[in-house]
Amino acid sequence: MSRSDVLVDADWVEAHRDDPGLVLVEVDEDTSAYDKGHIRGAVKIDWKKDLQDPVRRDFVDRAGFEALLSERGIAGDDTVILYGGNNNWFAAYAYWYFKLYGHQNVKLLDGGRKKWELDSRELVTDVPQRAATSYKAQEQDSSIRAFRDEVVSAIGSKNLIDVRSPDEFAGRLLAPAHLPQEQAQRGGHVPTAKNVPWSKAAEDDGTFKSDDALRELYGGAGVDFGTDTIAYCRIGERSAHTWFVMHELLGQPNVKNYDGSWTEYGSLVGVPIALGDA
């Protein structure tokens, strides 16, 4: 797999967005940005309402994902181009989620909404009408999703990559600094985890760094490319960004995203926690 198989740039999107069999999808937690303006032809997916179970802390099930994509007019053989705000966190999460349910042809717009805006490219408010499909999903691919017991077992034996900011890793903050700080859980990190903040994999404009720079970044932080990897953050979006880098850009074979992440791990009774800087 090469970078061009999983990543497109804004010029490519402007040239190909009307191609048959191609669907642009904006993904965000707060979809008001889409409502104010989006790339022409793009449909929206709401990270919370569309992708999360409304009662349990889990994803919508296979039937729910099939219903969602059918209603949005996405077919199983469509090429889906995902983009979003927050430096593509939610788009990378959706990419991982689409792969989890077996959608093969999916790519990210490099730099997402931010690069598009900073380039002053066109945004429109017209919502496209797409005919409904009968989307068929696969069973979840357990090779890319980690659960808590696997994380505990990985301490000292697999690469654990904590992609949160250094202050969250050390235990000084419990959430990203753009959010109010919670008091519900313990601060710190999973013992033996390396701290490679997601932001180090991206340029200021949200585009991904080169493969060479990425290998140097993770290798320099002590990540062993010959060992399986689990990435986590606070709730699984930022670590989906790192999952994309490790699995899709760098082609590492066994990389999982732990979507339970720190909001689960930091609330577990009896598990080990490490404090302090890397």
Binding site: D28, E29, D30, S32, A33, W47, K48, Q52, R57, G85, N86, N87, W89, F90, K114, E117, L118, D119, S120, S165, P166, D167, R172, L173, A175, P176, A177, H178, L179, P180, Q181, E182, Q183, A184, Q185, P197, S199, K200, D204, D205, C233, R234, I235, E237, R238, T263, S267
Partner: protein, 111 residues
């Protein structure tokens, strides 16, 4: 813990990490160390752009899209930070800021 508190805590844990445009709303600083302000150009608000918070080592900590009024808000740890503003036209401006628990530190950034 009351049911209301439990519900509020559960809600906080269930929410994502997304950065709302302009920053999450607040009534007062409480026990938070808040850095907030507005970005202007020639006296007018810059409604399209991004504010980033960098730590003393220059590493990224957080980012919010600017609000329509050019506003931004961060919930930092106490200490010194660098505020970086990115806006269309290649605008990139850095400003040193500091934060303290229980205080709202206000900054206007002219680009």
């Amino acid at each position: 813990m009351s049911d209301a508190q439990t519900a509020a805590t559960g809600q906080a844990a269930a929410a994502g990490c997304g950065a709302p445009a302009g920053g999450a709303p607040v009534k007062d600083a409480g026990n938070q160390a808040i850095v907030q302000g507005k970005v202007t150009k020639d006296g007018a608000p810059v409604g399209v752009g991004y504010a980033r918070l960098l730590n003393s080592g220059g590493d990224f900590v957080a980012e919010v899209p600017l609000g329509e009024d050019g506003g931004f808000r961060f919930f930092a740890a106490p200490g010194d930070w660098t505020l970086r503003v990115l806006a269309p036209g290649g605008i990139r401006t850095d400003l040193g800021v500091s934060a303290a628990i229980g205080e709202i530190s206000e900054f206007e950034v002219a680009v």
